[in-house]
Amino acid sequence: MTGKDNDKSFIEVRELSKHFGEFVAVDAVNLRIERGELFSILGGSGCGKTTLLRMLAGFETPTSGRIFLDGVDITDQPPYERPVNMMFQSYAVFPHMTVEQNVSYGLQKERMPRNEIASRVGEMLALVKLEDYASRKPDQLSGGQRQRVALARALVKKPKVLLLDEPLAALDRKLREHTQFELMNIQDELGITFVVVTHDQEEAMILSNRIAVMEQGRFEQIGTPKEVYEFPCNRFVADFIGTINTFEGVVQTSGEGEITVASDECGHSLRAYCDTPPRNGSDICLAVRPEKIYISQTEPDNDEDSCLRGVIEDFGYFGNLSLYRIRLETGKVVQVSAQNRRRSTERFLEWDDQVFISWRPRSAVVLEN
């Protein structure tokens, strides 16, 4: 069998598709997830994240493709036979059962002896810090507590894989940040493989070992948070994750991993590095993150860097950093962020100040069209 030669990956998804009539929700995706990984599927609304997760859980029959878990083909297994548990986007905590009954439900279906259930449930409730709420009904809990009930209920069976559909979306910001770390700690402690679906790129970056960026039923890029942030493979990924400035241009000279790009948009030639330089004359796009750009009032005396002149159109103060929107002579607006290292009463830069912005050629990402 072909499954044998790559038995290293714990979850393997092969050419998995789901069609709803004419509509293609998931389009022949391939995916490998390692044991113990915290893997995120990141994408905008309606891109097919939930559908993919539901196929992994067994609620949606794939139109084509196969799913392997730990070397076993589980594509045709019903949900109740899969060693996989899911935490629903709506939490789906049973409203007519107490917290304890909710958490023990899965074990009861396994016909586990009573005393064993009690101890396992106790352990789980301690893990999610809900010991004092065991006999409460869900409508007597806060949103965050309900989320933890759902988590405990999904973890109590010690599944091989836990699927989490937007686990933190319904929580407020503070609680979400706190819960992110709790989730990571729990995952670390139990060593269960987590597959998290989210539309929040920050959350995906913080939580995951690896991220799959999804768009219209396909994966655009799969990689570590650093890879997808620093080395986006196309415009969509670059745009979707964080903010980025893009400069359209034409390759002028190309060689030895270095290219020069004539960009009408900024009225300058820009330099950049890339492993496989595109051919001369091809249209490309250079992308630079705002925090990679330096801002100064005097022209930097460094020939290496790409340097542009502009005026400050707008800026925002965010405490730890300031964001500037700088209008170039060509009219293009570039976003720059700068750390506020000094604490001074007078502002350093003001509206309509003439400034120079510059960045290292290595900071620019070359995106081919």
Binding site: P78, F88, F94, H96, Y105, K109, K137, R153, K157
Partner: protein, 298 residues
Amino acid sequence: MSAVTSRRGDIWQRFAVAIPYLWLLIFFLAPFAIILKISVADPIMAQPPFTPAFSDAGGLQISADNYVFLLTDKLYAITYLKSVLMALSATALCLLLGFPIAYGIARAESGTRNILLLLIVLPFWISFLLRVYAWMGLLNNYGVINNLLMWLGITEQPIPMMYTDFAIYIGLVYSYLPFMILPLYATLERMNLDLVEAAQDLGATSSRAFWDITWPLARPGVIAGSLLVFIPATGEYVIPYLLGGPESLLIGRVLFDEFFVNRDWPLAAAVAIVLVVLVVIPIVLLQRYQAKAAEQTA
């Protein structure tokens, strides 16, 4: 300022809360009191055909004779029992039929769902009486059903269906099914489907998930629908009168006959009072049980 507005809001709020109570007082409690008063009078040949509560001399003249009569005459007890049992069976049948229908409608796509709901309420556009008459035409010895059965060769002789309990059940279930389906539909439609999937995800088969999740969560609808069927079915008059045989004496029929045939208003009133008590007791018990269940979990 805010104290004033809040007090005014208070009055409105109280008024809003009072409306259902006022309604019940005017349209239920007051008539009930009148009937109760008639039930403790004696029948006389007069207009109205019962003795006043106070004699000309000013003395109170009431008697429990009618109730004593009702309780001692076996025929009434049997009639009550039969009516309640029949209503219970009809309720169970409605539940059995109505649940899958309501479930199907609740899970249908929204376009189809509206059409199905419309179909459920469509019969209400035709008079209830006409619809029961229509069943007479269907169930007759030479009605549509028997003709079809004989034409198909399933039976030589027409199967007698009219004027039997069977016909009454058909009539009851047919007429009251929408009252079961609509509240059931309302609860099932509101239910989060993720709950059932979560149960399956945790190891329950589809049927297990139904009994663990769907059924308990549908209980408010089951109770509401059952009451909406059981209560009117117990006192039903038209269906047994038109479809039932002469021997299927039900309490609604007795009530009618006492009022309009025998013109014994006090006895008829007593029959009505006992009927109300019979129907109200299970509801009160049920409510107390529910309150207790809610208390226990709290």
